[in-house]
Assembly symmetry: C2
Homo-oligomer: 309 residues x 2
Amino acid sequence: MKQTTCLAGGIGAAKFLQGLVEIIPPEKLTIIVNTSDDIEMHGLHVSPDPDIIMYTLAGIVDEGKGWGMENDTFNCLNMLQKYGIETWFKLGDKDLATHIYRTQLLRSGLSLEEVTQRLCQSLKIGPRVLPMTNSKVVPQVITEAGKMHFEEYFVKRGAVDKVLDVILEGTQSANPASGVIESILDAEGIIVCPSNPIVSIGPIIAVNGVREALRETKAKVAAISPIVGGATIKGPADKLMEGLGLEASAFSVAALYKDFLDIFILDEVDKNSRMEIEELGIETIVTNTIMRSLEDKIELAKLTVEALN
Amino acid sequence: MKQTTCLAGGIGAAKFLQGLVEIIPPEKLTIIVNTSDDIEMHGLHVSPDPDIIMYTLAGIVDEGKGWGMENDTFNCLNMLQKYGIETWFKLGDKDLATHIYRTQLLRSGLSLEEVTQRLCQSLKIGPRVLPMTNSKVVPQVITEAGKMHFEEYFVKRGAVDKVLDVILEGTQSANPASGVIESILDAEGIIVCPSNPIVSIGPIIAVNGVREALRETKAKVAAISPIVGGATIKGPADKLMEGLGLEASAFSVAALYKDFLDIFILDEVDKNSRMEIEELGIETIVTNTIMRSLEDKIELAKLTVEALN
């Protein structure tokens, strides 16, 4: 059966996927998720992007924040703080169960893809969720305050440091998880979700063979711009792009994907970039990309899927 | 400075210590705690007896249950259950912080005694709390349903299985933690708390050199009977003793300690055992040993300390 395959980061992708699952049957959907911002917190393996995607698809995400589980408490975290431990990464009590279970399964010898599969089964998630790799990839942000993990730059320090560079450590030896390449080559349509092009989509594409598969596949590839009016809806993509010497614009995102991208969906506020992007050989669609309601999400998903047909 | 040194298990010992800390300054008190029922749950190192003692001394124990932290929630555990994990060991959310922190420190290379010291500092506990050993000792209960860890026998299965034997695995290679032997040899008084003689006090005494130190020390050794009227106040000591072919009685407990015990404090209901115990060469004191109120605890502690002088 022909699949639609998505490349996904965290919150932006999760919102888009909430719409997509309303129009594509779960068994026809594969989601390749960024695992580069996986981080060990308090000895536990935390997978921020996969968790956001899984919780969202399971209908248990904290909709207000876009991450974590709904109706969660923070009693363990508060107690960890009393033990003098840094608690800038806000792990809820229910959320902790995921990290405890994942860590235990990984220590027992399972791979990240096997663990992700188990979690998805328990959470009764229909679409296939694949981590991009079982290897460790670390997005290091080089700032004026020094080199730090992306989560430290973003969550701990609030993205206040001037970015000089971003290095994706470990990509040279990162091989794709099972099914990643096949799901790209065999897809009938590929969607690059509206996620950070530097530290979410960038790492997925940097995994061995993924960029090549995106170029080779016969499926059309569509991306939704995560940059609207020169800024990000969520997260620090704009600051990271500027740190890399790129303009924070829809055009810059399209240019980063130009070797494999067929269709670029950008917001109405950026319609003036249309011609510039089409000159890269990429078809453009201008629409409302801001997803406030479920209707917004479904509209955007429909438009994207129709463009891929 | 001369010390009073206690040998302690879980709930019974913790109750007694609540009284003792009211009459002995913290810097004069050393508590050697059983770690034989330490168990790995969900990949986390849980130390049931040290936690009961620490939470009690820190004034944060759940007084109703006698274990766990007060006002705790169980959101993580409920989520672990949704992941299909066995959750018979009731770990609260705040309580989990202790196990997460302990596990992380142990994995970083610290010994159990160093970890215990850190936890006690964070919880602002005055008396010195020493784990009996840094090694792994496992109390295996041989039952008609097979061999199982004491916590499985007691907490998971509710102590319903007929006990055939108890084996303390690992005691041959278990060396005492720093300060254990010295705190016995240099004490001015030693108290064996009202704890399970088979799986709480038994393992402490089985650690290399501890029984010998108890025999050698010039300090008097007093024990409070955990058996009252042929039954335990808390826990399955009576069932374990019967499984070992012992009568579940104050006398049997005194007999187990007879090579190092000077004073045995038993309950009024057991006053008829007095003579029999004194025939073992052990002085006896008959009193109310049931600790319902703080006053009861202080009374029992006072009586014990006075007997040691």
